[in-house]
Amino acid sequence: MNAPLTAKDFATDQEVRWCPGCGDYAILKCMQKTMADIGADPDNTVFVSGIGCSSRFPYYMNTYGFHTIHGRAPAFATGLKLANPALDVWVVTGDGDGLSIGGNHLLHVIRRNVNLQILLFNNEIYGLTKGQYSPTSRLGTRTPTSPSGSIDAPLSAGAFALGAGAKFIARGIDTDAKKLAPVLKAAQEFNGAAFIEIFQNCIVYNKDVFESFVGKKTAKETQVHVEHGQPLLFADGTKGLKLNPQTLALEIVEVGEGGAPESDILVHDETNAILAQMLLTLPKETYPMPLGVIYRAPTQSFDDAFWATHATQGKRTGKVADALRKGSVWNKV
C-alpha cells in the first residue's frame, strides 16, 4: 500500500440503504474514519453481522465481511477468529439480533473472551421487521405486537455483558463521533471480547427514544463521561457521583462552593466490577448516562488460550499414516 488509506477508502461501491436520518449512518461514518485513523488493513479486517438493520453494516465497509443469519454472528466470528487469529474481527449486532434471538451466542462469545469487538446498536425496537418491541424496549412501549404497551421487563445490555463475564464494556452515542471514536479504538486494542453498546436512534419506529440524555443542549447535565483515574464529574464539573456507604448506592452531589469537596467524588476505576455494575444500572430517568469505557479488566483471550493449549499449538507435526498405526496393529501374511 502506498498512501495511507482515508475514510473514503473504507466505503464500498454499494448504495447505503438505511432510512434517511438513521443513526446507523453516523456510526458507519465514525467507523470508516476510525479505520483510517488506526491504519487498519482492509485485507485483515472482517465485519461479521447477523440479521437486522444494523447487520447490513458489513456491506458498506470495504473490508472482508460476512452477513450471516439471525443472532448467530458471534458464533461465525468465533470460528473465523479461531481459524485465523491474526484477523481483526468486528461483530455488528442490534438489540433484537444480539439480545433476543442471539442472546445465547452473545453470552458465550463474551464469557469465552474471544478477541473481537462487538458493536451492539441499541435502538430499543425491531426496525427491519417494522417496529415490534425488543428486549430493550421500555415497559409500556406500544407497537404492532404490543398494542396495550409491552409488559416485558427491559434488559440492560451493559448489565447483561457484565453478568456474562465481559472484560471490556463501553457505551457511546451514534451521533457523538468525537466520543465514540476513542471507544472504538480502545475496543480494537483490547485483547478479548470488547462489548460496546451504541445508543442508536431509529428515526422511523422509535424516534428520539434516547432524547433525555443524547440532546446536545442538555448533554452536560445528562451524560457522565467516565475516564479511568478521573473523578465521576459532570455538568462542567459542578456535579459528581458520590458513593453513599449506608445505601451502597451512587448519589448525585453538587461539587465545589457550597457543595461537596471534589475528594468526595468517586474516582473511576475501570477495573472495578462493582463500580461497573452500579454505573451500568443507574436509572436513566434520574441519573446522567455513563458513557465511555466503563469496565476494562484484561485477561487471556479465548483464541490465545485455544492455541496455547492445543496439542501442537496449531502446527501439523504428525502424519496420518503414523496415526493409523497407533495402538494394536497386526500383520496378516
Binding site: D43, P58, F76, G79, K81, A83, H105, L324
Partner: protein, 629 residues
C-alpha cells in the same frame, strides 16, 4: 462337551450385565484377542441410554455382541450362540435374542431374591422351565472371583469388580486364546492402580483355570475357529467413529489445510469429537460450541477463514443447524456435516440405530437448497467416506452431508490399513490473482471472486487475510457475476438454476455405480445404503450359494445419484431395498429415477438380521425355488 467346530465357521457371543459390570471392556478385549488370532469379526455394543441405571434393573442392562469366524464376517450376527449373563436382568433382556439351543453361562451369585425383585422377575428363571431349550452352565462367578483375589487383600467391592476379567479368562479358554496380549494390555491400562491390576490378573487366570478344569466334567465346550481368509497386510480394530475422525484428519492432510471441527455433544455422535480432540498434531482443532447452531456457524466461520470447517451431530442437532447450512450453501462455502443417525423422531432412541435422516439431508431445508449427500457403509469405510465428503465440499464449494449411524459409530471390526499414497490430493479452486490493493477497481475483484469453475461450478476459495480480495458475502441473494446483493428476478432464477446445476455436476466426478456381488442384470437386485451393507452382503452371499441369481448394489452417493444408476437398476426384474426407516431411500429412487422398489423397512432400533433379508429375497424371487438347487 469337548470341541465344537461350527458348521458355518462362525460363532456369535453376547456378554450382558449391569452398566457397571465392565461388559464393554470384556467384549473389547475378547475382540482384540480374536483379531490377534487371525479370525474375522464384527462387534456391536448395545448399551442403555442411562449412564448408571440402578443396579440389577432391566433398563440398566448393557451388552456387547461379537460375531467371529474363519470366514468373512459382515455383521455382529443375528442370534447369539453363546450368552454370558451376569445377572437375572441381563438374562431376562437377552434371552429372547439368542438362538434356541444356545449356550448360556450364568453368574449364579447374582440370582438372588433381591435381584429378581429389581428386575421384576416373578420366579427364578432357572426353575421355571424357560431355559429348557438351552444349554445352561451355572457358575458362581462372584464367589470364584473373590476367592481368586482374596490373597491380595482387596475390599469386597473392589474384588468383585474383577469378575469381568474372570469371565474373560474363561472365554479365552473356550476359544483357545493366549492370555499374554490381554495381560500386557491390562498391565498398561491399570499401571497406576496396582491393587486393581493385581485383582484383574488374578481373576483372569482363575477364570481360565476354572474353565480348563471344568472341561474335565465336560461342562464347558471349546470352540474351534480358525483364521479367516483376508488379504495380506497391516490390520487394526477400528470403530466407525474413530475411522471417521482419522478420515477427516486424512482429508486435511490431503488438502493441506487444517480441519476445524466444531461440535456439540450428542449421542451417538460425540465419540467423533472425542477422537478428533486428540488428533491436534494432525492439523486438527476442535471447538465445543455452546449449542448445535453455534457449532455449525463456527464451522462455517472457519471455512470462511480458509480452514476446512466440519460440524457433526445426530438428527435433532442437525435440525438445529439447518438454517446455517442453508447459508453455507448460499455463500458457496465448503462444509462437511456428519450425521450419526439415531432412532427418532424427536429425542427418539438416542442409543439405538436408524437411517431415518435421509429426507432431512436430501430435502430438509427451506427453499431450493440442494446439497450433496453421501453415506458410509461400515466402520472402516468411514475413513474413505470422510475423505470423499471433504473432496466434494472443497471442489464444489458446498456443504456436504456425510451420513453414518449409531451402529457404524460404535461397531468395530478388523480394518486393512489404507496407504495414504493411494489417495489423490484434495485440490481447492485457487484464489484469483488481482494486482492491486483495497483501492483497486472493485468490480474486477468481485468478478474474479465469483468466477466459478466451468465443470464443478465451485468458486475460488478466498479467505480474509488474502491481499486485494476484500469482499462481502452473505445469505441475501447475490448477483451471479459480482456477488452484490440482487433482488433482480432473472438473476434469482439464474442463481437457483446454478445451485441446482452445481449439485448435479457432482455426478460428473463420481464413479459409476458398481455391483458388489452378482451380475449387472437379472431377476433380483438388493439395493442398500449405509450400515445395512454387512447384513445385505451376507444375505446375498448365502442365497447365491444356494443358487439364487441375486445381485448386491450399495449406494455411497445419494445426492446426486450416480449417472448410471437408473439404467443399472432397470436391468433387474425386481429391486429390493432394505432400510432402517419407513422407506426414505425408496422415495428418493422413485423421485429421482421413477423406479419402484420392494421395500423392507425396519425401525426397531436394531440392525437388520441376515435372515430377515434372506427371507424377503426368497419371498420375492421369481418362480421362488425355480432357480434354487
Amino acid at each position: 462337551m469337548g470341541k465344537i467346530t461350527p458348521e458355518n465357521q462362525s460363532v456369535v457371543v453376547r456378554f450382558a450385565g449391569d452398566s457397571g459390570d465392565g461388559v464393554q471392556l470384556l467384549g473389547a478385549q475378547f475382540a482384540e484377542s480374536t483379531a490377534l488370532a487371525g479370525a474375522d469379526f464384527s462387534t456391536f455394543p448395545d448399551f442403555p441410554a442411562e449412564i448408571r441405571a440402578p443396579v440389577g434393573t432391566t433398563f440398566g442392562v448393557s451388552a456387547f455382541q461379537i460375531n467371529l469366524g474363519a470366514r468373512r464376517i459382515s455383521t455382529a450376527g443375528d442370534e447369539p450362540d453363546v450368552l454370558v449373563a451376569f445377572n437375572p436382568a441381563a438374562l431376562k433382556v437377552n434371552l429372547p435374542l439368542i438362538r434356541k439351543g444356545a449356550l448360556i453361562i450364568l453368574n449364579t451369585d447374582a440370582f438372588t431374591a433381591r435381584n429378581f425383585s429389581k428386575a421384576h422377575i416373578a420366579a427364578d428363571q432357572r426353575e421355571t422351565g424357560e431355559l429348557d431349550d438351552y444349554q445352561v452352565v451355572e457358575i458362581d462367578m462372584s464367589t470364584q472371583t473373590l476367592e481368586a483375589v482374596k490373597p491380595l487383600g482387596l475390599s469386597k467391592s473392589d474384588a468383585e469388580q474383577s469378575k469381568n476379567f474372570w469371565a474373560l479368562g474363561a472365554v479365552l479358554w473356550m476359544f483357545g486364546r493366549s492370555r499374554t496380549p490381554i495381560e500386557d494390555w491390562t498391565k498398561k491400562k491399570f499401571a497406576k492402580k496396582p491393587e486393581i491390576l493385581g485383582g484383574n490378573l488374578a481373576a483372569l487366570n482363575a477364570g481360565h483355570a476354572f474353565a480348563e478344569t471344568a472341561e474335565l466334567s465336560a461342562e464347558i465346550p471349546q470352540f474351534v475357529i480358525g483364521e479367516a481368509p483376508m488379504n495380506a497386510g497391516e490390520y487394526r480394530t477400528i470403530t466407525g467413529a474413530e475411522a471417521l475422525a482419522l478420515g477427516l484428519a486424512a482429508a486435511g492432510e490431503l488438502a493441506n489445510r487444517d480441519i476445524m471441527f466444531c461440535s456439540y455433544p450428542i449421542t451417538p455422535a460425540s465419540p467423533v469429537l472425542h477422537h478428533l480432540a486428540r488428533m491436534g498434531d494432525l492439523g486438527v482443532a476442535t471447538f465445543q460450541a455452546e449449542d448445535e447452531i453455534a457449532a455449525c456457524c463456527a464451522a462455517i466461520g472457519a471455512s470462511f477463514g480458509g480452514k476446512i470447517g466440519v460440524t457433526s451431530s445426530s438428527g435433532p442437532g442437525i435440525a438445529l443447524k439447518t438454517e446455517a447450512i442453508g447459508l453455507a450453501m448460499s455463500a458457496e462455502l465448503p462444509l462437511v456435516i456428519v450425521n450419526s443417525q439415531r432412532g427418532g423422531p424427536s429425542t427418539g432412541l438416542p442409543t439405538k440405530t436408524e437411517q431415518s435422516d435421509l429426507y432431512q439431508a436430501v430435502y430438509g431445508r427451506n427453499a431450493d437448497a440442494p446439497l450433496p449427500v453421501i453415506a458410509t457403509a461400515g466402520p472402516g469405510d468411514c475413513f474413505d467416506a470422510a475423505i470423499e465428503a471433504t473432496r466434494i465440499a472443497v471442489r464444489h464449494m458446498t456443504p456436504v452431508f456425510l451420513l453414518t449411524d449409531g451402529y457404524i459409530a460404535n461397531a468395530a471390526g478388523p480394518w486393512a490399513l489404507p496407504d495414504m499414497a493411494d489417495f489423490e490430493p484434495i485440490l481447492s479452486n485457487t484464489p484469483p490473482v488481482i494486482n492491486g490493493d483495497a483501492t483497486s477497481e472493485p468490480t474486477a475483484v468481485k468478478r474474479a471472486i465469483w468466477s466459478r469453475d466451468p465443470s464443478s461450478f465451485g468458486r475460488p476459495w478466498t479467505a480474509p487475510g488474502m491481499a486485494g480480495l476484500a469482499h462481502r458475502i452473505g445469505g441475501l441473494e447475490k448477483d451471479i457475476a459480482t456477488g452484490d446483493i440482487s433482488y433482480d428476478a432473472d438473476n434469482h432464477q439464474a442463481m437457483s438454476e446454478l445451485r441446482e446445476k452445481k449439485i448435479e455436476a457432482v455426478a460428473d466426478f463420481i464413479p459409476d455405480q458398481d455391483v458388489i456381488q452378482g451380475e449387472t442384470k437379472g431377476p433380483v437386485a438388493v439395493v442398500g445404503w449405509g450400515s445395512t451393507h454387512g447384513a445385505i452382503w451376507r444375505a446375498v452371499n448365502d442365497v447365491r450359494e444356494q443358487g439364487y441369481d441375486v445381485a448386491q448394489i450399495h449406494l455411497r452417493y445419494l445426492s446426486p445419484l450416480p449417472k448410471n444408476l437408473g439404467r443399472l437398476l432397470s436391468s433387474y426384474d425386481k429391486v429390493i431395498l432394505p432400510e432402517m426407516n419407513m422407506g426414505q431411500c425408496a422415495t428418493l429412487l422413485r423421485d429421482k429415477l421413477g423406479l419402484e422398489v420392494i421395500q423392507l423397512n425396519k425401525v426397531s432400533g436394531q440392525p437388520f438380521k441376515i435372515s430377515e433379508i434372506v427371507d424377503v429375497i426368497k419371498k420375492n424371487y421369481p418362480g421362488k425355488k425355480q432357480a434354487a438347487e
